[in-house]
Symmetry: C2
Subunit: 335 residues, 2 copies
């Protein structure tokens, strides 16, 4: 059986419909025949179910359409895993923009119209703008054609940690931190602010971020107030500090306690239910704060997600746009 | 007992030598007395062993010398772990440049002159030029004054993997990879080049990096040769491809097989003894390729090292300077 490439799709005539669409979920029917995306046609050529397209075998067809090699690798992998897929073309699937395939639930096909995953294919060197993800699985194809599936999702963050002080505590700015010489025990024990210099009593060190937030909310008094602290922090970090502060504030206000994520190479690790540090569980999220117009390299996403998975935490990106934050969860997926 | 700050060091008079240097390894003797670095003086003030320096207690002394807070945190941590330390001052230790402290082996002190670690203190936001590390432990103090110790070391890389082909194999450039339609089995099985499209037989996909190296060494023939492949690769990646190629070549020539490290967010994972892919063990190194003038953020180092540790591999940076590579190993250390 042969196909013909017309306007970017491959037409297969008489009986194509029954053989390829009805029986195995390739393409879309057109009369007795079927129309296939080039990736689907390549897969049928590869399997030997289609003999040629305009006289070309699998190798010649790929050579003439080399931009489909990377999507082909993903299509083949998902077919091998037992899924039927629909190419994301106008009129073939809903909202095809920004994705390459729709994966149908196992046991269903394009005729059912159900959606298990929306798949976007990128190669190892493709730029991935943060603004472009959040409702699709990103299939990253590396140099050796191994595939990493990253599930991206816009999420809401919330927790039950809350804490307030009756009277502000005094602090002294020391370099890039603030020391409280004689703080109420609760600020560390229940609010999980700062780090005691030694044991759980005595002087408490606050990060600049913690100090700014406490000063802004009337819980800390230092010479020059929050303004001086922000100026000190911006001297080192400029915009980055402002972004981290926006994310920090939002987390605290949503009942989640952020602490530094340096050991994990991220901005924060977070605790969603702090009652007393003596009964603290493991942190749940790793948060990386980035500007909303940030463009990721696939390897950056892979690194963060791999690490978070390894330490049993969830990787979340805080996309900061002025004073607003969009939370983007990225996780490994095995389809 | 009181001290006096003179020219950046704290002098303690009569009996200071016996009490602080001879008995507990602080400072350097001067006559009957002792001279202390400001960090040592702060530690003695903190412990209550020194009453004041020029009338200042611990808090006032730190407030007036706030740049010593971060080194103090590290000094205190290492003292708490049972080590004696010498501040890295000219005449106090050998080669004091670029470090803050020398740590003496447990049970020895400054009078023995033995060195367990050379410590460089950086705070979470300090830039760390790649060229500045390789013979010291970098102690990274995060915002909350938790310390991560990173052992940095210049290393040699070598392995026993070797492979050659009698005759070149033919390949076709397809987008950003090369396909060999009918390659000798050994190129994948024993050379561990490329990735079969399916199973272990049939078409083999090579990355551009693999293809360039094979073409340069006379093992691959493609239209336009290595020059065309390099031009194709540089279109996407410019200098980065050249750097990765220099590192790739050097690894192959040292008997180590590099494969993509995308899943780990690095450039390569490597295998030091490939005989046959059917008996392949785990990869040993994760390699990140950077220009020799690269400046790290401490959190980047922490992220890479944490991940490598989690997957039981060793993190190595390839610092590329023209055609030469310096290999820099970075690992977590618990002092």
């Amino acid at each position: 059986m042969e196909g013909t490439l017309v306007d970017g799709i491959v037409e297969v005539g008489a009986n194509g419909r029954e053989r390829f669409y009805d029986a195995r979920g390739y393409g879309r029917p057109r009369g007795d025949g079927v129309v296939l995306s080039r990736v689907e046609a390549a897969h049928l050529l590869y399997r030997g179910d289609l003999d040629a397209v305009d006289g070309s075998d699998f190798g010649a067809f790929l050579a003439a359409n080399d931009e489909i090699l990377v999507p082909f690798v993903v299509y083949k992998d998902l077919r091998d895993r037992g899924f039927y897929l629909s190419p994301a073309r106008n009129g073939w699937v809903e909202e095809p923009e920004g994705i390459d395939f729709v994966v149908h639930p196992r046991g269903t096909g394009p005729w059912d119209g159900e959606v298990e995953h929306r798949i976007r294919v990128v190669s190892e060197r493709t730029d991935v703008p943060a603004s472009s993800i959040g409702d699709a699985v990103v299939a990253v194809v590396d140099e050796e054609s191994e595939i990493t599936y990253l599930e991206t999702e816009s999420v809401e963050i919330s927790g039950s940690s809350s804490f307030s002080l009756d009277a502000p505590v005094d602090g002294t700015v020391l370099g890039d931190r603030v020391l409280c010489w004689d703080p109420p025990e609760a600020i560390y024990r229940r609010g999980f602010y700062g780090q005691p210099l030694s044991g759980e009593d005595g002087p408490l060190q606050l990060s600049l971020l913690e100090a700014v937030y406490l000063a802004e909310t009337g819980c800390l008094e230092v010479d020059g107030g929050a303004e001086r602290l922000r100026a000190r922090a911006r001297a080192d970090e400029a915009d980055r500090f402002d972004r981290r502060l926006v994310a920090y504030r939002e987390l605290r206000e949503r009942g989640v306690v952020p602490k530094t994520g340096l050991k994990f190479g991220t901005d924060f690790r977070t605790y969603e239910a702090v009652e007393d540090v003596s009964s603290l569980g493991h942190s749940e999220l790793l948060v990386r704060v980035v500007p909303v117009d940030r463009v990721f390299a696939p390897s950056e996403l892979a690194l963060d997600v791999r690490l978070a998975h390894g330490v049993r935490k969830r990787m979340v990106f805080a996309l900061v746009d002025g004073e607003r934050v969009r939370w983007l969860s990225v996780a490994r997926l095995t389809p």
